[in-house]
């Protein structure tokens, strides 16, 4: 477990020294969500209806922006190979990197989403549901995304290819994440959505680092 947190700490330090990369993805999230009212029109009722979907799709895309950075730099300077050779289990180190990615790319989105939700006239309850859904959903996005990032490591046109691989797999998270907020606004029970998001997260926590490790080993051969 120490190895996991050491990796996370290292990646967080690296991210803090290159703040602009983190902030770029965050501002991308802000700009994309602000573009929709400009394209659709300022009608509050319509904006309120489409807000959960827009915020979730923007969060998916913003997470995607940070994914290529997860392994690329460490692959280039050989750190990743040293990690694979180290006595600590490689899967644990990879989990640490995924955790760091979520803390850098996912958590800020969760904190920022309620502020952006106000733009769409969501009430306080809906904002809470949105934040909680993103809190459960964004780690899932980081975990699934890590598989895509590992598979496309060092591959021609990796970034676009990764989007092609990862986005279809994001569909369930999008459906239940945005669905929770929509259900709350419609006055329906939201327990089911949260249970399913948490269940998918539990499955992904177990399997995704494993698949990512297998994909990284192929890339390192």
């Amino acid at each position: 477990m120490n190895a996991l947190f050491a990796t996370t700490r290292r990646d967080l330090l690296l991210a803090l020294r290159r703040k602009s990369e983190v902030l770029t993805a965050l501002f991308f999230f802000v700009i994309v969500t602000s573009l929709f009212p400009l394209g659709i029109g300022p009608e509050p009722a319509l904006l309120k209806k489409i807000a959960p979907g827009i915020l979730w799709v923007a969060a998916l895309l913003a997470t995607l922006l940070g994914l290529p950075r997860m392994f690329a730099a460490d692959h280039q300077d050989g750190t990743l190979e040293q990690m694979a050779l180290s006595p600590a289990p490689f899967g644990l180190l990879v989990s640490g990197k995924i955790l760091a990615h979520w803390l850098v790319c996912g958590l800020p989105l969760v904190l920022l989403a309620p502020v952006l939700g106000i733009q769409f006239d969501l009430d306080a309850g809906a904002l809470w549901v949105l934040t909680l859904a993103l809190l459960l959903g964004t780690p899932l996005l980081s975990l699934i995304g890590a598989i895509g990032a590992a598979l496309t490591l060092g591959v021609r046109g990796g970034g676009v290819l990764m989007a092609l691989l990862v986005l279809p797999l994001y569909v369930p998270a999008l459906i239940f994440g945005a669905g929770a907020v929509e259900a709350y606004i419609a006055g329906l029970d939201i327990g089911g959505h949260f249970s399913l998001l948490a269940a998918m997260l539990a499955v992904a926590v177990f399997f995704a680092p494993w698949a990512t490790t297998a994909a990284l080993k192929i890339a390192l051969e």
């Binding site: 021609r156 691989l165 994909a215 192929i218």
Partner: protein, 250 residues
């Protein structure tokens, strides 16, 4: 060294070598094409001339003779592809990856055909080309998964690495397909979008069912024949600098 393994296992191991598989596939391909032709002619004859006109849907329903088998094949081929990909990953056999790679374009074609014929059927039946029905949506996502698999394999130059990376993607996809299907289904019922039901179709006439089954066999035979031909081409391409390929071609 005497080989004590079961004769069937020995046979499988023998044909797991591309060199042994290549001539076997060559011998099988004409048979599968012949069966494709027989089932194709019989199936199309039944679906166009024998099967009665549907009481409620008229002549336009006949598109299901293509649509349903294509949808079946698109789902089944993904499973077969993931199976061979998994075998290739665990046993490190070269041929498995080649088979998975040769199946992917046919699977993508079937998914595309299923979506297209579905749209053609939807227009006269529902008055719209597309509804966000659970089955249509999950078929669309399946099509995306095929495209991702093909794109990933095409982007990696080293064939062995492409096989392994594709195998992981195919296996991740197989785990996700049921999750995607049920999430889309639930999403659909929650939204109550389309008022049409695909599941409550009226009871089918006996000849219609036979036509559909024979058409399904036609799609099976076609898929096998095409996948074998593609596998042979892939074997030649990858083993181009070996001695046996030089003799096999001339």
């Amino acid at each position: 060294m005497t080989d004590k393994s079961h004769p069937i296992a020995r046979l499988l191991f023998h044909f797991a070598s591309p060199q042994a598989f290549y001539p076997l596939a060559g011998k099988l391909i004409p048979w599968f094409w012949a069966l494709t032709a027989i089932f194709g002619v019989a199936g199309l004859y039944i679906s166009f001339f024998v099967a009665p006109t549907d009481a409620t849907q008229g002549e336009a329903y006949r598109i299901i003779f293509v649509h349903v088998p294509a949808s079946w094949m698109s789902m089944f081929i993904y499973l077969v592809m993931a199976f061979w990909a998994g075998i290739g990953l665990t046993f490190n056999t070269r041929l498995s990856g080649m088979v998975a790679q040769s199946l992917a374009p046919t699977g993508a074609l079937m998914a595309a055909l299923s979506l297209w014929t579905g749209a053609l059927w939807g227009k006269p039946m529902w008055g719209t080309w597309w509804v966000w029905d659970a089955r249509l949506t999950s078929e669309l996502i399946l099509f995306f998964l095929y495209i991702g698999f093909i794109a990933l394999q095409a982007a990696i130059d080293d064939a062995r690495r492409a096989d392994k990376a594709g195998a992981i993607l195919a296996l991740v996809g197989v785990v996700n397909i049921p999750i995607i299907y049920f999430s889309v289904k639930w999403w659909n019922t929650l939204h109550q979008g389309a008022s049409v039901s695909l599941t409550k179709s009226p009871a089918m006439a006996q000849t219609m069912l036979w036509g559909m089954l024979i058409m399904a066999l036609f799609f099976w035979m076609y898929s096998i024949a095409v996948a074998l031909m593609r596998a042979r081409a892939i074997i030649l391409e990858r083993e181009a600098n070996t001695e046996w390929v030089k003799h096999a071609v001339d």
